[in-house]
């Protein structure tokens, strides 16, 4: 039986568990994964994905593709918030525009993980250094967002809110999830370099368990996302449209950049997914701290309530067919 890529994606356990979580909210089941259990899984996923990425990077070495791809990734996370900001300013003040735009410039690790699982199920290869891109794209958008506030905000911001560059950098670079991802990457790299038996001993934890833990975590993400969705109604149709249009738009730019970089289909999909995904963790946390004028319900309900489910369920297979269509085209 031939089934469409979207259906095939939907029928993978992680996506099914995500839907189960979402449906439980719809049906008002009292299914609940109490705090801090979700945190256990999110920490685990970051640690495992970083560790595995570090091993892969050590194994493959720094190929020619690594530097251009990582640079392009950082560039994208600087450019996307600027575009987003310009679009959002039609409707929102500087604070909300900057905060939302920053979220879309940054990334969602779980979306990335889902894309990896999708590629594995499709048996399409990808490289470990893409985890490096994941880690590097989390922070720059925060900096852009905060700089947008710093320079575009009305001059009468209360004194105490004048941000210092050092605080901005600290908030964006030493965020717990960025830190854990990057340092696990380094641990993976060092382990692969000097202690290969350590890789084997970690494998059951970081490797074999990963898929199941992803499912469990997505069950919770389904609950959390579905709880957010209704709040979107208050956000208005402009923002709802933005939450779908923006990832598609970013994916479109991303796929051309990926083509320009001559990335293979696996890496290209991951690159596109990084562009298309939006942050509901690091960026909201930073924005709440530094731009309290922005409404957290705006940047969370869009990214978590709409963009995240869209990417997980429909986006990834759509981006895959985008990659399959655009990448093989004759040179630009």
């Amino acid at each position: 039986m031939e089934i469409s890529p979207i259906l095939q994606n939907v029928l993978a356990p992680p996506v099914l568990f995500f839907l189960i979580g979402a449906i439980s909210v719809l049906f008002k089941s009292d299914l609940e994964i109490p705090a801090p259990l979700p945190k256990l899984f999110s920490l685990y996923l970051l640690l495992a994905i970083g560790f595995k990425g570090g091993i892969e990077i050590q194994k493959s070495g720094f190929t020619d593709q690594v530097l251009p791809t990582l640079s392009a990734a950082i560039l994208m996370s600087l450019v996307i918030p600027l575009i987003g900001f310009l679009i959002l300013r039609f409707k929102f003040d500087v604070f909300n525009s900057a905060a939302i735009a920053a979220a879309y410039g940054s990334i969602s690790a779980v979306t990335f993980i889902s894309a990896e699982s999708f590629l594995e199920s499709q048996k399409i290869a990808f490289d470990g250094f893409m985890v490096g891109a994941l880690a590097l794209m989390e922070s720059p958008a925060i900096i852009v967002g905060l700089l947008l506030v710093k320079f575009a905000a009305p001059k009468n911001r209360p004194k105490s809110r004048k941000m210092h560059l050092s605080a901005i950098l600290h908030e964006s670079l030493l965020n717990g999830s960025v830190y854990l991802l990057l340092s696990s990457l380094i641990v993976g790299f060092l382990t692969a370099s000097s202690n290969p038996s350590g890789i084997e001993k970690m494998e059951p934890f970081t490797g074999q368990l990963f898929y199941g833990a992803e499912c469990f975590f997505l069950l919770d993400m389904g609950i959390v996302a579905a709880q957010r969705l209704p709040r979107l109604k208050n956000a208005g149709s402009f923002l709802i449209g933005f939450a779908i249009f923006m990832p598609l738009f970013n994916a479109f730019i991303g796929v051309f950049v990926a083509r320009f970089l001559s990335l293979g289909p696996g890496n290209a999909l991951l690159f596109v997914v990084l562009c298309a995904s939006a942050s509901y963790l690091a960026v909201p946390a930073a924005m709440r701290m530094t731009v309290p004028e922005a409404k957290s319900s705006y940047y969370i309900s869009t990214t978590l309530g709409l963009t995240f489910p869209f990417n997980i369920v429909l986006g990834i297979p759509i981006y895959m067919s985008l990659v399959n269509t655009i990448i093989p085209l004759s040179p630009l």
């Binding site: 809110r161 919770d220 963790l281 309290p292």
Partner: protein, 93 residues
């Protein structure tokens, strides 16, 4: 003796504790993982998960004069990210 109840984002906890320590309060108690709604914001449980942090509830039993000393600092701490502060009477057992 007075009882001071402070409720605010966990993210501000360090700042508030610094303020309390500077005023030399005899002690304080912190309860984390509180949620709620204020005039500005809804704080739900999954805020913790998204890294936004839930609220902290801090109780301080101390003399009125200490409260007077801290009032401005606490107000400033709370004015920025929100939160509430209330005083009531309390008698040591």
């Amino acid at each position: 003796m007075k009882r001071l109840d402070l409720i605010f984002s966990e993210r501000e906890l360090d700042a508030i504790i610094k303020t309390l320590e500077k005023a030399n309060v005899p002690g304080y108690t912190v309860m984390k993982h509180a949620t709620g709604r204020g005039p500005e914001r809804v704080v739900t449980e999954d805020m913790e998960f998204t890294g936004l942090g839930a609220n902290a509830h801090v109780i301080v039993f101390c003399e009125q004069e200490l409260i007077d000393k801290m009032r401005d600092n606490i107000r400033e701490d709370l004015s920025y990210y929100g939160g509430v502060a209330y005083i009531s009477e309390a008698t040591p057992l």
